[in-house]
């Protein structure tokens, strides 16, 4: 899936592909800051989960990382370069987005929709060609939706639609994939399906950043966790040291207990 050029994006596993420093942002002017002086490093080639209660600024942070929002202060660096210095095309070849909800007003077929992920590699007047079709099919294969490529999107189940969205983002061949609450609308079996795919992507070298309010999801898939509260980072670091009862209780302002079951972390309200 990876195209040439990935080598010069820092040392996988050691550097931070996304580095945020002193980030401040507000939707309605200073005084109502959603994020305050936030600093963060996202390690390359790992899964990073951004956790926090509703309204803590997770989605806002994700949109800032995508570049669709611009910070009032502070800087975001992508692969060592300021995010703002990238052209649309360069940026879209590196950063992909899987949103929480996607409203698609027309009934595209699954393949037509996934092909839209090839836009970063096409000029404004260009149509996707055979190579793009192949890339889209590879992405569909990765999420296991090959068989449904001709089906209309609205005819898919919620879980399949979410996987189609992931495939659309994968057709983009991004180095960093941003996912906003990726399992929010999924039942247990579809959650399992998605988590398997995300783990597989991480082993292939894609950096994943996902927001969630479910600490168990973070524990299941992420190597790194960032706990946010009121627009600030409380703790960030490896999941084992971050997702502790004490730190989670402080984040959610609720008594949380952490159990070890079969070598996995299980997080419950006590």
């Amino acid at each position: 899936m990876r195209e040439a050029g990935s080598e010069n994006l820092g040392n996988r596993g050691t550097g931070a592909i996304l580095a945020v420093s002193g980030l401040t942002f507000s939707y309605d002017g200073p005084g109502h800051a959603v994020l305050r002086d936030l600093s963060l490093e996202v390690p390359t080639g790992a899964v990073t989960a951004i956790l926090g209660p509703n309204g803590s600024g997770k989605t806002t942070l994700l949109r800032l990382l995508l570049g669709v929002l611009h910070p009032a202060a502070g800087q975001i660096r992508l692969a060592g370069r300021p995010l703002a210095s990238y052209s649309r095309r360069e940026r879209s070849q590196l950063l992909g987005l899987v949103p929480q909800d996607e409203h698609i007003p027309f009934d595209f077929s699954v393949l037509e929709y996934v092909l839209l992920g090839r836009a970063p590699y096409l000029g404004p007047l260009q149509m996707p060609g055979e190579a793009d079709r192949q890339a889209a099919l590879v992405a569909l294969h990765t999420v296991g939706l090959e068989a449904l490529q001709g089906r209309a999107l609205p005819s898919l189940s919620g879980g399949e639609r979410q996987l189609a969205t992931v495939a659309r983002a994968l057709a983009q061949q991004p180095h960093v994939l941003l996912l906003d609450e990726p399992t929010a609308h999924l039942d247990l079996s579809n959650q399992g399906r998605l988590l398997t795919i995300l783990r597989h992507l991480a082993t292939q070298g894609t950096t994943l950043v996902l927001t969630t309010h479910d600490p168990n999801l973070a524990a299941a898939v992420a190597g790194f966790a960032v706990l946010m509260r009121s627009g600030q980072v409380l703790v960030a670091g490896p999941t084992e040291t971050t997702l502790t009862a004490e730190k989670l209780s402080a984040t959610y302002d609720a008594p949380v207990r952490v159990f070890q079951v079969d070598g996995r972390r299980l997080i419950l309200l006590s």
Binding site: L66, V68, R88, F108, E112, L116, G117, L125, P128, A169
Partner: protein
């Protein structure tokens, strides 16, 4: 006593539909060329109905009629259909709403006001009337845009739609005032007739007036047709895929509206084509605008030609094209609503 039921698959309509779904462009293209050519031979000379090619070869009057009157009119009717269908497709995609049509955002009512104003205040020649209609159509769009920019309510698309409704209402109130002031014997019929829509009296000059704008706009929209898919997605996603949703939407919107304003200024208000034809086209080709837009343009051209052929042939007097387009459009719409394999979403 039992009556054998015909097999549902066996009727001609379903066979045609299946063929259309397999090779839409071959069939639509063929139908387009045939209807375009046939339209030159349909009319009320020398008698109502069909003029044989032999007549055209022998009769000097027939030749002049076809070249000077019918040809520009047929081409204009075709362009009208193509433009409204293309503009409808574009607007439905970029406003992410399958119920949008090209006349909204103040365009149609603005053009109507401009035309009515030129009839009442200037007693204008057709070209001045067309110019003024175009100016006011663009003014309608501009006002809608400015209002949407200044409104402090909802998202961008909602603001545009609301602004379009408000500006349209302003202009239609203005048209009401002008109708009230108009001389009921001379001016009022002109206004009413214009607003019913029609291609009578279209000359080469009219065609040349609308041609540059329409061709340029259609070329832009056609070349960007795959991109329209991208612009129908959520803004964040379009952005993540490297598009500039705001800027690109504005570009194709201006192209669609400019072309609409040009054809409306010549033909008056013709509804339904821009709303309905894109839906019919999407049924044959799927939603991907790379295929749906050209199909929509071909279908729109056919629809415009057929309506105009009937408008000038059925009765001794001309039937306003807008009435026929609404009639057939509504019938088609009802047929679509009742057809079994309609896909419902949301």
């Amino acid at each position: 006593m039992t009556v054998a039921k015909p097999l549902p698959q066996a009727n001609g309509w379903s066979i045609m539909r299946a063929a259309l779904a397999r090779r839409p462009f071959l069939l639509l293209g063929l139908a387009f060329v045939i209807v375009l050519a046939a339209s030159l031979f349909v009319g009320r000379y020398p008698e109502p109905g069909w003029m044989s090619p032999a007549t055209l070869a022998q009769d000097e009057v027939a030749r002049r009629l076809v070249l000077n009157l019918r040809l520009p009119r047929v081409l204009s009717a075709c362009l009208l259909g193509v433009t409204l269908a293309a503009a409808g497709s574009v607007m439905q995609m970029i406003f992410r709403n399958p119920l949008v049509e090209p006349g909204f955002l103040g365009v149609s009512q603005g053009a109507a006001f401009g035309a009515a104003l030129s009839i009442i205040a200037l007693d204008a020649s057709p070209l001045i009337m067309e110019g003024l209609a175009t100016v006011f159509a663009c003014l309608g769009l501009g006002l809608s845009y400015l209002l949407a920019r200044r409104a402090r309510y909802g998202g961008w698309i909602l603001r545009l739609v609301l602004s379009g409704i408000a500006v349209s209402a302003l202009f239609s109130a203005g048209v009401g005032v002008l109708k009230y002031l108009a001389d009921p014997l001379t001016q009022l019929p002109d206004i009413v007739f214009w607003m019913l829509g029609g291609m009578w009296g279209v000359t080469w000059a009219d065609l040349l007036y609308l041609l540059p704008t329409v061709i340029l706009s259609l070329v832009i929209v056609y070349l960007m047709r795959w991109r329209l898919n991208l612009l129908s997605l959520d803004d964040d996603i379009g952005f993540s895929l490297g598009a500039a949703p705001g800027r690109e939407r504005t570009l194709v919107l201006v192209a669609a509206v400019a072309a609409t304003a040009a054809v409306v200024s010549v033909a008056g208000i013709v509804g339904w084509i821009g709303l309905l034809i894109p839906h019919v086209a999407r049924r044959f080709t799927g939603a991907d605008a790379q295929r749906a837009l050209p199909a929509s343009m071909l279908l729109g051209g056919i629809f415009g030609l057929v309506c105009d052929d009937l408008a000038r042939t059925l009765l001794p007097g001309e039937i306003p094209l807008g009435i026929l387009a609404s009639l057939f459009g509504a019938l088609l719409f009802i047929g679509m609503m009742l057809s079994r394999n309609i896909r419902v979403e949301r």
